[in-house]
């Protein structure tokens, strides 16, 4: 399996470089070290006009040797306030990363899906109950200001450290 996964990751790497201009919210998606194609990082940019605006959110991506039959493990390294992201561990609750993973995904399409999760939270399956509860009781203003505060605290400026 391992040669197949390396071949695949190399192809993905080349495709990502070619597509760079077509995905404005993905600043970066690449292996952390050139010689390890099974450990990647990504940086998502908060969408303009959202509470995440201006934020740069780093993801850590671990590829199993059985990829793409099995899903990659992806977590936020940058602290982020979001109903479907664990505030401490960065774990992401997204069906396509878990029970609904299919090998038709690529790292790039997965990152785009995570990026769209930021502005389309799913408060009914929360990993961050405080954030989810604000949304569930309709307090959008409260939710947005909480998100803005954490974005400013952790994701804006020199905030690449964990």
């Amino acid at each position: 399996m391992s040669t197949a996964v390396h071949r695949r990751m190399l192809k993905e790497y080349m495709a990502i470089q070619k597509n760079a201009a077509t995905r404005p919210h993905l600043e970066l998606l690449e292996p952390i070290q050139e010689d390890d194609l099974l450990h990647w990082q990504a940086i998502l940019l908060g969408t303009a006009d959202s509470a995440y605006e201006g934020g740069r959110f780093k993801l850590d991506i671990v590829i199993p040797t059985s990829y793409p039959i099995q899903s990659p493990t992806i977590r936020f390294v940058t602290k982020i306030c979001h109903p479907n992201v664990h505030f401490k561990t960065g774990e992401i609750c997204l069906d396509i990363l878990k029970s609904e993973w299919t090998p038709a995904w690529t790292l790039e399409s997965i990152c785009v899906a995570i990026s769209s999760l930021l502005t389309n939270p799913e408060p009914s399956s929360p990993l961050n109950c405080d954030a989810a509860n604000l949304l569930r009781c309709g307090d959008t203003a409260g939710y947005n200001s909480l998100v803005k505060m954490y974005t400013a605290l952790y994701a804006i400026g020199d905030s690449d450290e964990e």
Binding site: K11, W101, T102, W105
Partner: protein
């Protein structure tokens, strides 16, 4: 997080084990028609009991994901005991499995053996239909490579055309081309393959699973590009994309009739499925045909279905020379 029902993508023939519910009763009391499955049932019951106990006592500590992982581990352990595709065996070996089993099964196998004399097992890992289909098709082509070379030409063309089907269904070339290449190369290699080499290829995880994956994507692409015909059969509120990603594209998910129809039509290869069930009302095995829209260019592949599982059957009237 609560312990919610988790679909068990296993192929052990136990419909009742399809959900992890605190109710273990259906599994233990439900008639286990197939003695082969007994071991799997015992394991599943154990796991279900553990999950249920945890559900009562410390609900918050067992996440859906942990349950899935646990179920997967049990499934893998069961499955790894068998090769992905096995050597063929005499149908009498199947009869022996039921020596102490139900009369209905024994009678049906006896009747089946009038017209069929061998079978080949496909591993019960959730992918058995796709693997059995691919192997039976490729083997048929290989055995006829000299006498009917047009079968090979047709098969190669069909597989090449699946690339366009996948692109039409909006799959990314990057996501499917490795599976496609392995499938096409294996098919092209049939020109010089021996029966042993074909079996070895299908027993190799990487090759075998790539072929399974390709056929899964082909079935999915066919359903997605023929939504008008098939969407009415989905559960209320489910879209074809959701159905396909959950039940067709993901490895290890069992196939239903819709996938058999899709694959038959997408590849122009007809199938006959022999339904071997514990139904007492008939002595004969029921054969259900799955036909492509075009006239089939070779006799149907024959699959043996027992609740939850597909294997390959060999019909006496088909050319069996070289089957190992």
């Amino acid at each position: 997080m609560t312990v919610t029902p988790v679909p068990v993508p296993t192929e052990a023939p136990i419909p009742a084990a399809a959900t992890i519910a605190p109710t273990i009763a259906p599994i233990t009391t439900g008639a286990v028609a197939d003695p082969v499955a007994a071991g799997a049932v015992a394991n599943l019951v154990g796991a279900t009991a553990a999950a249920a106990a945890a559900g009562q006592g410390q609900e918050a500590q067992l996440t859906d994901e942990q349950i899935l992982t646990q179920m997967q581990a049990i499934k893998d352990e069961e499955a790894n005991a068998h090769p992905l595709v096995d050597h063929s065996v005499d149908l009498m070996e199947l009869a022996q499995e039921y020596e102490n089993g139900s009369e209905a099964f024994k009678k049906k196998i006896e009747n089946l053996s009038d017209t069929h004399d061998r079978m080949r097992r496909s591993r019960g890992d959730g992918n058995c239909f796709y693997r059995a289909f691919a192997f039976a098709w490729f083997e048929r082509v290989m055995l006829a490579i000299k006498s009917k070379p047009e079968l090979h030409v047709n098969a190669v063309r069909t597989i090449e055309e699946t690339k366009d089907l996948l692109l039409a269904a909006q799959f990314e070339l990057l996501a499917f081309e490795d599976f496609y290449q392995v499938t096409l190369e294996t098919l092209q290699n049939l020109v010089h393959f021996t029966s042993e080499e074909l079996l070895t290829a299908f027993q190799n995880d990487e090759v075998s699973n790539s072929i399974v994956m390709h056929f899964r994507l082909v079935a999915s692409a066919f359903l997605k590009t023929h939504q008008d015909d098939y969407a009415p059969f989905l559960e209320f509120g489910q879209t074809m994309d959701e159905f396909c990603s959950m039940h067709v594209e993901a490895m290890g998910r069992e196939s239903e009739e819709m996938m058999l129809i899709a694959l038959t039509k997408a590849t122009h290869v007809s199938i006959e499925v022999a339904y071997l069930s514990g139904n007492q009302s008939a002595d004969e095995v029921n054969f259900l045909p799955f036909l492509p829209d075009t006239a089939p260019y070779m006799p149907p592949l024959v699959l043996l279905y027992r609740p939850g599982h597909y294997d390959i059957l060999y019909r006496k009237s088909h050319c069996l020379e070289g089957v190992i």
